[in-house]
Structure formats: C-alpha cells, structure tokens
C-alpha cells in the first residue's frame, strides 16, 4: 500500500536542537497523517455545539430568548462563543490548523507523485513465488518481448531486463487522491475568499415599495472584511405584487404551496425596467449578486387621526407572523406627531378571522380571506425624544395609558374605523398589502468552490476505484524443444476483494496463449459478472 510506505514516522522530539530544529519538528508534527486525522475529527466535533445552541448568525431571536430564559448560563455560553460557533476564534483555529496541515501534506506529496509518475516499475524481485499471487507454466516460444507486448496491450506500463518483465498499472489512483486533497484545499480557499470579498444583507420590502442596492437600504448588512460600500452592484427594483397560495382543504389545510413575487428590476441606474418573477428556488441574479426570497408577511395599511383631527399616520405597517400555520401576525404603530398626546398601537392582524367559542377572535387560515385587525391603543409619551434607537416592532407600554383593549371586541375589517375614547382620535384599517423579506448576497467564491467540489468528487472516485497493481514475469531459457518456463508474480498495492486475483488469472491465461489473449479477456469479463 502506497500510504503505509510513504507514511512518515512520528517525528521524535528534537533533543538539543536550535529554534530552527524545533520549527521543523513542529511543522512535521503538524503535517503528519495522525495530526491531520485528529484535526479533522476536532473540526467535526467543533461544529457540533453549533447545531445544538441557537446561533446569532442564523436565529438571533432565539439567542435573545436564551438570554431571557437563563441569563446566567447564557452569559457563560456567550463567553465561550457558543452562540457564534462558526465565527469563533477556536473554530477558526481548527480550520486554519487543518488547512496548514492539509497544505503541508498535499504539496510535498504532489512533487513526490510527479516524480513517481515518471518512474518506471521496479525490477523483478528475486523470488517471484514469494509474492501474494504466483503462477508458473511452460510455454512455447515465449520471449521477454512477447510477454511485454501482452502486458502492454492490457495497458500495463512495462520495463524489460534480461529475462524479466516488470509491469505496473493504476497510476490514476495516486493522481485521483492528490486531486481530491488539492481540491479540498482549493475549496477551503474559495470559502475563505468568499467570506472576505463577499457580503450579504437582509431587507424587508412592502408591496408597492422599492429597494436600491446601497448599504443604507439594508435592514441588516454583513460585509466581508475586504468589501467597500462602493462595490455594491447598483441595481434597484420595485415589488409590484406578491402572491402566496395555500392548500385550502383537508389535513394539510394552510400548508403553503407557492410564493410568487413580481419585481420590476433595473440593472443599473437609468437602465430599462424588466419584469422578474421571484420564487423560492429561483433567485434574481444581477451580475453575480443574488436576491433570494426568504419570507413573507402582511402589511395592513392604516390611517390614524389624532385628537385634533389631523392625519398622524398613514401607510402600511409590516407585521411579523407569530404563528406560521394561521399567520396571525403582530405589529406596532407609533404616531409621535399626534396631538395633544402621542398615540401608540399594538395590532394583531388576523388574515382569516373567525370568532372563537370563548368570545375572542382567531385566525384559521394563512391566506387573507377575511382580514381583520385587533387594535390595542395607548396614549402618552412614547419615549422617542430621548434619542435612543427603538425597535419598530416593539412598543414599551408600561408608562402609557391604555385606551382600547381589542381582544374581546369585533376586530376591524377593511374600511372600518375605530374611534378612540375621550376624543383622542381614530384608527382606520384602509387595506392589506403584503411584504417579502429578501436576502441579497454577493459571494465571489461560489463558482470556484463549486469547481473545487466537482474536482474533489472526480478525484475521490478515481482514488477509491482504481487500484495500483504490479506484475512481474520471468522468462527462462528455451529448452531443446523450444519450450520455456514462464514464472509470473503479482501484487496489488491496494486492498480489495477477489478482483485482483481474477485479473491476475486473466493475465496468466493471456500469457499462456498470447494469440487467445483477446478471447480470454472477453471470457474473463464474462466470468467476473
């Protein structure tokens, strides 16, 4: 077996060596097979906590929840980066060490392999009968040349000497193995480079509104370390309309079937608009920057009048779904300009509202068949003048005066208006729009990573299916009758079942009767099946 031969012994610790010696020792230790295996295991192990604890990069809201539920534990976990496993220093350390180890082992092996590729099969050992496979027979007119010709026809690489032929095949195994490891290395580079030179961001767009690809337009923007804000592809689009369809009846009632968003896209400022139909598995691609449809929700539109009869708010309010099955959603409206008192609203949006037995109202279907809004109104100081940033999805109600608690009253249907008590104003549900959440990403490492992945599979298949094997033949001096003794020995450098034995037997058969070699080959194929 190649590897065992080539395996370097574990480096002995260098007693009394200078710093250079220590570094060489450390490098050898790092690039040894065992270290690579241990690092590989560690890398896998290091990713486990990432699947068990919520991750900030995937579900920040669950991390927040964790902090609320068990703050003490959460703080400890956070100190160990367990909510950011895949960007943690210790994960990066395993990644880098594995990378170094892989590079340190693949590159020297590549040069060894290149030399090996040109090397010819080694001369025949003295005693062929000691080899794992062995045969000998008497043949008429066999010569070194005729034997070598038979072997070459079977695509062995051959070397001849006085009275012997050495043959070897299966070099593709090593090549495939190197290709695989080098492709892994390239994959790691592509992934790393994609992270440095790419960016991603999220944005929520309401029907009728648009988005222009600039840093300021994102709700969340995560650039790689080497990305400048000017590098963003300058496209923009408007969300013309969004449609979701659901199963209407049966056990799976309410399961989504299809989401379709129609965008009017302009690739550059001033470029003509084109229509793009955005679906879940069909992103929008503008010069390598992909826009993906991730989620959707309702944005009911409201018109709010204050105590003086002036419009304090008018427009769509994105609501976040709190229940995926019924799409019951919640949102917040703040009207800081309302007079005499500021107004704040919590709204529960029910896409298909029905009264429940206990007098409350519930949604029974995610589609907007009977859209209504339950309103909880407050007045007082919304606390927006302090200058501290506030979430648009939260309303701090502890210091506010409750005006209306809408959970037991009939919710507002589209067009209906609710007068607030004490002449504080009114709120009217004027319509229902929908919003979509998008991820926009640019990753220059995508295609290189794909290429590397494909090469790694090709290399893997070669390295796992091709076997390296050697055959030696010794041809004796012809006797008086022209008959010579031919001795054949063979070994495979790779383990495997009976396949090599069969091949060896076929080689022997072919050597016994070179003329019938082709027939024997066909026969052999049949036998093998």
């Amino acid at each position: 077996m190649t590897s065992t031969e080539e395996l370097r012994p574990d480096p002995a610790s260098p007693a009394g060596l200078g710093p250079l010696g220590w570094m060489r020792w450390a490098w050898r230790l790092l690039t040894s097979m065992r270290t690579a295996l241990i690092l590989l295991f560690l890398f896998a192990l290091a990713s486990v906590p990432g699947s068990l604890y919520p991750q900030r990069s995937i579900s920040p809201e669950k991390v927040t929840q964790y902090f609320t539920d068990s703050p003490e534990l959460a703080r400890w976990l956070d100190r160990l980066w367990l909510f950011d496993v895949f960007t943690s220093p210790w994960f990066a350390a395993t990644y880098l060490l594995l990378f170094l180890s892989l590079a340190g082992c693949v590159l020297p092996r590549a040069s060894v392999h290149l030399r090996e590729l040109r090397r010819r099969p080694p001369a025949a050992p003295r005693n062929l009968s000691r080899l794992p496979r062995h045969a000998s027979f008497a043949a008429e007119g066999a010569t070194v040349e005729s034997v070598a010709a038979v072997l070459r026809r079977r695509r062995f690489r051959t070397v001849t000497g006085p009275g012997w032929v050495a043959a070897e095949k299966g070099y593709l195994r090593e090549t495939g193995n190197l290709l695989f490891h080098a492709a892994l290395l390239a994959l790691l580079v592509a992934v790393g480079a994609g992270g440095l030179y790419g960016y991603r961001g999220n944005v929520l767009v309401v029907e009728g509104n648009g988005f222009a690809n600039t840093v300021a337009a994102y709700d969340r923007y995560i650039p790689g370390a080497q990305v400048s804000a000017e590098a963003l592809e300058p496209f923009h689009f408007t969300l013309k309309d969004f449609q979701a369809s659901y199963i209407a009846t049966g056990e799976r009632r309410g399961q989504p079937l299809d989401f379709t968003a129609r965008l009017a896209v302009s690739d550059r400022p001033g470029a003509p608009e084109r229509t793009h139909v955005l679906k879940v598995n069909e992103p929008l691609d503008v010069a390598g920057t992909q826009t993906y449809l991730l989620g959707h929700g309702y944005a009911p539109t409201f018109k709010i009048l204050d105590g003086k009869g002036q419009v304090a708010f008018e427009g769509p309010v994105p609501c976040l779904p709190v229940d995926q099955v019924t799409y019951t959603s919640e949102c917040v409206i703040k009207a800081p300009d309302a007079e005499p008192d500021q107004l704040g609203f919590l709204v529960r949006f029910l896409p298909t509202a029905l009264p429940a037995a206990d007098g409350t109202w519930v949604s029974v279907f995610p589609g907007a068949a009977n859209p209504t809004a339950q309103v909880f109104a407050f007045s007082g100081d919304l606390g927006m003048r302090s200058g501290e940033p506030q979430s648009v999805y939260r309303l701090e109600t502890t210091h506010l005066k409750p005006l209306v608690m809408g959970d037991k009253t009939k919710p507002l249907a589209v067009g209906e208006k609710l007068e607030l008590p004490g002449g504080a104003g009114s709120i009217q549900l004027t319509g229902v729009r929908e919003w979509i959440s998008l991820q926009i990403a640019h990753d220059p490492g995508r295609l290189p990573a794909l290429l590397a992945a494909i090469l790694s599979v090709v290399g893997l298949v070669l390295s796992l299916t091709v076997r390296r094997r050697r055959v030696w033949v010794r041809v004796g001096e012809p006797g008086d009758d022209g008959v010579t003794t031919v001795e054949v020995g063979g070994l495979t450098r790779t383990e495997g079942g009976p396949a090599f034995e069969e091949e060896f037997d076929r080689v022997v058969t072919a050597l016994q009767s070179p003329g019938a070699a082709e027939a024997a080959a066909r026969e052999g194929v049949r036998n093998a099946h």
């Binding site: 990713s47 496993v85 069909e282 990753d443 992945a453 599979v457 298949v461």
Partner: protein, 319 residues
C-alpha cells in the same frame, strides 16, 4: 405545480407498504431458517476459496477448522432447509417489488418525487438498502446478511408507518425543486449502502471468534469496506448537491444549519474511517468501531436532527 392528490393511488401505496413490512418479516424468518439449518457455510467449497484468498489468512484457517464443528455434514438436515435460502431470496424480491411499488404509487399520486417528508424518506432508504443487498447477493455469497437487512428494513418501515406517516400531499415551496431529485436521491442511495456496511459492522462485533454460521470476521469487514467505498463518493456528491440547492433556495451554499453540520460530521467520520484503514492500517475492531460511530452520526442526522433540533430543514413534516 400539481396540488391534486389521487386518493386511490395514495391508498394503494399505503396498502403496499403494509405488504412490504409483512413480506420483509416473512423473508427474515426464511433467511434465519436458512442461516440456522441450511447448508453450513464451510461446506461450500467456493466460499472457502474466497475466504482463503481473502484478506486474512488466519480466518481461512478458522474456516477450515469450523467445518466439523458446524456439523452441517454430519447431522441430518431437514429436507426443506435446503430450499429455505432460495425461498427467502424470492420473498425479499417480492417485498422489494411491494416497497418499490409503494414508492412509485405515492410519487404518482402526488405528482412529485416521493421523498418530500420523513415518512417517504425512510421508506425510500429502506428500499435502497434492500436493493443494495439483493444486487450484492446476486453476485457474491452474502445471503447471510438477508436476515439482518430484512429485519432492519422491516423495523425501519414499521417505525415510519407507525410514527412518521403523513397523508400524501404536495410539499412546501422550498422543496419544490428539481434539486430534490438529485440531492435527496443521492442521500438515499448512500444511506442504503451505509446501512449494509453498518449491518456488517454490527455482525462483526457480535460474532465471536471460532465456529459460527456467519462468515469470518475478515469477510464481514471487507464487505463493510466495499459498501463504504461505494457509498462515500455518493454521499460526498449528495452533500455538494445539497450545497448547490441551498445556494438556490436560501442564498448561501453553506450556512451551518444543523442538517448541514451533521451531514458534514457524517462525511468526516466516514473519511476518518477510510483514512484509518488505508493510511493508518487500522483493521478489525478499531476500524469497525469508527465505522459504527460514523453510522451513528448518519442515523442521528436522519432521526435526531429532524425531530429534536429545529433548523431550515425542519419542514420534514414530522407528525
């Protein structure tokens, strides 16, 4: 996208799946009878030849030694026992046909690839494992595996029917892509082969040295190795195809979603097994334990991640 479900075909699929479990159980009994009373392994000259040429010469020696102990020659065998093996194979082909029929009718009933939820996925994996076994036993003397693979498939499908079954129906938009045909099919085929390897591995650990109805440990190990060598590139491909799909559906090809994490762990574990064997020269118990750890991560990804951990892949619809 088709949303209509053909209830007749869906019902037929559910009936066929019950027939599958029944047939696998009966086949398992027949295989077990064959194993217990059929022709002793060592009485089979061809098989002894394979063992002698195999990896471990010591094992071949055991093989020869066990001939009298196994008693296949000395004692009278019941007349029916000779046929038990052939009957078992015929029964498992029948079971296979029912299993395949159940998968196909479900697919036609819903008008999409029939591996869109965990029930369908488990049924397909069991089909893949039985297919792998049947193809293997047509070419190699591995009939002894029949009892165990049939048992595993019957248990798997039984579990799926009892705990995972959902009504036939359309899938959520994220699963509605041709990538399901590429990515999930590859994962199913690889998993089927890994089940063969895992079964051999468990038998390896269960088998004591010395006389046994089971083949030698070296043969069991080499069987597992061959299955993994086949399965590993397919699994690699499945993971890559998954990344390509994720790139289309979620806007990143790799995001450390729990399912991705565990697919990666499974991949590393099987790569470690191949390395341990090829480069570190591990054999026997040590290599088998690494293999079974890898198998455990595969099963955890299939069952544990779907049920206990929520992530983007969680639309697998566990009832």
């Amino acid at each position: 996208m088709p949303t209509e479900v053909d209830p007749g075909l869906a019902g037929l699929s559910d009936t066929l799946i019950l027939a599958t479990v029944l047939l696998y159980v009966v086949a398992m009994v027949a295989y077990a009878l064959d194993l217990a009373f059929g022709r002793a392994r060592t009485a089979d000259p061809e098989r002894r030849l394979v063992a002698a040429g195999g990896v471990d010469a010591a094992d071949a020696a055991t093989g020869t030694a066990e001939a009298p102990a196994a008693g296949g020659e000395g004692r009278e065998r019941p007349a029916w026992a000779a046929r038990a093996g052939a009957v078992a194979v015929a029964l498992s082909w029948l079971g296979w046909a029912a299993n395949a029929g159940a998968v196909v009718t479900r697919g036609v009933a819903v008008g999409r690839w029939p591996w869109g939820n965990m029930y369908e996925f488990v049924v397909a994996i069991c089909l893949a494992a039985v297919t792998a076994f049947l193809l293997m036993q047509a070419r190699q003397p591995v009939r002894f595996l029949g009892a165990f693979v049939s048992a595993a498939a019957a248990l798997g499908i039984g579990f799926a029917v009892r705990y995972l079954h959902v009504q036939a129906g359309p899938v959520v938009p994220a699963l509605n892509s041709y990538w399901i045909a590429i990515h999930v099919s590859a994962a199913i085929i690889a998993s089927g082969l890994f089940i063969i390897a895992g079964t051999s591995g468990i038998l390896f650990l269960a088998r004591k040295d010395g006389p046994s109805r089971l083949p030698g440990r070296a043969e069991l190990e080499s069987l597992a190795h061959r299955a993994i060598v086949l399965a590993f590139p397919v699994w690699t491909f499945a993971v890559i195809a998954g990344a390509l799909w994720a790139d289309k559906a979620w806007g990143r090809y790799w995001g450390w979603d729990p399912k991705e994490v565990w697919a990666f762990i499974t991949w590393v574990a099987y790569a470690a097994y191949l390395h341990a064997r090829v480069t570190a020269g591990w054999r026997g118990k040590a290599a088998t334990i690494v293999q079974l750890i890898a198998f455990a991560t595969l099963l955890f990804n299939l069952v544990g991640v779907n049920i206990f951990i929520s992530g983007l892949h969680s639309y697998a619809q566990v009832p």
